[in-house]
Amino acid sequence: MTLMLIALAIFGVTYLLIITEWINKMLAAMMGGFAIVLTGIVHQKIAFAAIDWNVIFFLIGMMMVISVMRQTGVFMYLAIKLAKIAKGKPLTIMILMFLLTTFISAFLGSVTTIMILVPIVLLVASELKISPIPFIITMVIASNGGGAATMIGDPPNILIGSATEYNFLDFMINLTPPVLMITLFSTGLIWLLYQKGMHVSNENRAKLMSYNEKHLIKNKKLLIICGIVLILMLIALSLQSVLKIETATIAMTAGLFLLVISDRKKVEHILANDIDWVTIFFFMGLFMIVESLVETGFISLIAKNIMNITHGEPRTTSMVILWVSGVFSAVIDNVPFVAAMIPVIKQLGTMINNPEAMHPVWWSLALGTCLGGNGTMIGASANIVAIGIANRNGYHISFKEYTKIGAIFTLLAIIISTAYILMRYFR
């Protein structure tokens, strides 16, 4: 009991530091991770064994793939091409960017997509002399939505995918349909919210149309190779259960291959700068801290309490998980939240002892955390990154300003998810 309290105290302080960012997130997670070893709550061996290397190497592999793909210029090409297809009309650009962000996030991850596309939108908005803030907010919403659609799109899904038996295809079958619905309804909502008020002069529009995006694709050969590697990677992820290869190995194979064939001069730069080691070590620390809660029995305690409320009834359990995750992910970073929730759901699974009944619970967790992340500007990593970029360029998005829009879209998304879960799994 005492050990559990110490573990809880370390967990609480660490999460407080992560949420408030009083110190660097990775430092907080690492300090918490080693504090539980130092206090003897968990033996170092067990703490290290708790690190999900499948997640760690999957992230590293994907970062390698993305960094080489960025070199091809294809993402910027697509964004500028779309702005030109929209003929510089703000609402059309906003909707096309929303769809592009959703699509790219599903395969490259929400954070990367935001880092690539938000600067372009800032440029486009400055050329058109309109405020980029509505664009940035809707793109953040798109990135978390798109990320929810696949196993590799959003950090919570990566964690869930690795912790469970579900493969890429399972995620597609169960999560892509609701995300498509949500995207459709959200597009309508954007049209309702922003159809008025954005005017662009012909002169500024002409400036945008003079962009020569053809210059962006510098290395066609690399682009074709990257395309083939990405498709092969997605096929391998889909056939995981047949191939018997884990996600990390698939991603690392793709990443290492692309690094080896890409420009030798850039490899060192990629390894030092494009692989986000801070995030990698942040995840390691999280795994260690959460293990202390598993070891001391706190996770079982929570699971038991959820059982008491829901009586292990799958429908109620799914709904509770969906809405609780949605609310929690909105107010705290959804990565640490899902890291703590995964062992809880696993524990619930052993209590309910019916694998079939657990499917909707896991999908509820995925939808709740990924989509809930949209609720406020600190709900997901993509939000924090996007707001940071806007800030550095003189566009201050206040908590209220973001939440006003974010909450509507989140509510819409969670309601659609509720309907989807109920209709698909409990009819």
């Binding site: 500028i80 400036k207 003189g394």
Partner: protein, 300 residues
Amino acid sequence: MLLSNLLDAKSILHESRILSKEQVYRLLVERICHHRKLPICGEGLVQLILQRDSQSSTAYPTGIAIPHIRMEDFHDTVIGMAFLQNPIDYEGTKVEWVCLVITDKSSSNIYLNLVAALLKLSKDAPLIRELGELRDGHAVVQRLHKMEIQIKREITLGDIMISEPITISADARLSELGAIFSSRGLTSLPVVDNNNRYLGEVNILHLLKVGVPDYLMMLDNVSFLRSYEPLEKLFEQEDTLTVREIMSRDEEYLNPDTSIPEVVFEMIQHHKRFFSVVDDSGKLVGVVTASDIFRKVIKA
């Protein structure tokens, strides 16, 4: 090694006539060549010195000029000195003491130390006046011998930096900064407060960056842009922004005691061709550029 031991009284002359730089060099060459056989002598040597002078000035603000010639297969160092009652104008610097140094192509070490010793001496104005009034080479050698001037001290940044450099105030408008950059042909300036305290550095890239917002720098490439308005309108902001808003506060700077190898090391290490020189009390005392080091020390 004592400086006095390297000197030859016969190669020291005192001049009261009004002479040109060329005439002084010719006199010195005549004296040296009279009792010393050099691989190149006479008018050829004078032309070499003048040619070297035209590449970069050999004069220093303390009133000394140290023209220098390196010769192949001349395994020695010879110094000729001229004390001038009527200073020569070296492109704005008044020179009353010319020290011609002839060394071997490979003996740069002695040369650098020699320059350091001569420069240090030249800062002692009363002494130079005294040496000038001696009117006799032997007396000069004896006087210097008594002073036991060693030429082993390493030359430091303080000896070769540009002291009293052009600076800019943090409150200056960008228009003022731009004017200095274009009229003086400079690309970096130290930023100081009213008491000449070092605050930071501002360079031409900081000025250009005004027209390039942060988001543009986050793009992987901008080859699709053929024109860009903020960059074209950069100069509209010249009178609203101050140096403080664009300067860099965390640039590396150097201390005047820094050795020359360390200066070169720091320049390469930080990819910086310009350094402010700041003393221990935080005051700006000079600046140094990579081409100063190259011309005054390495290629000298």
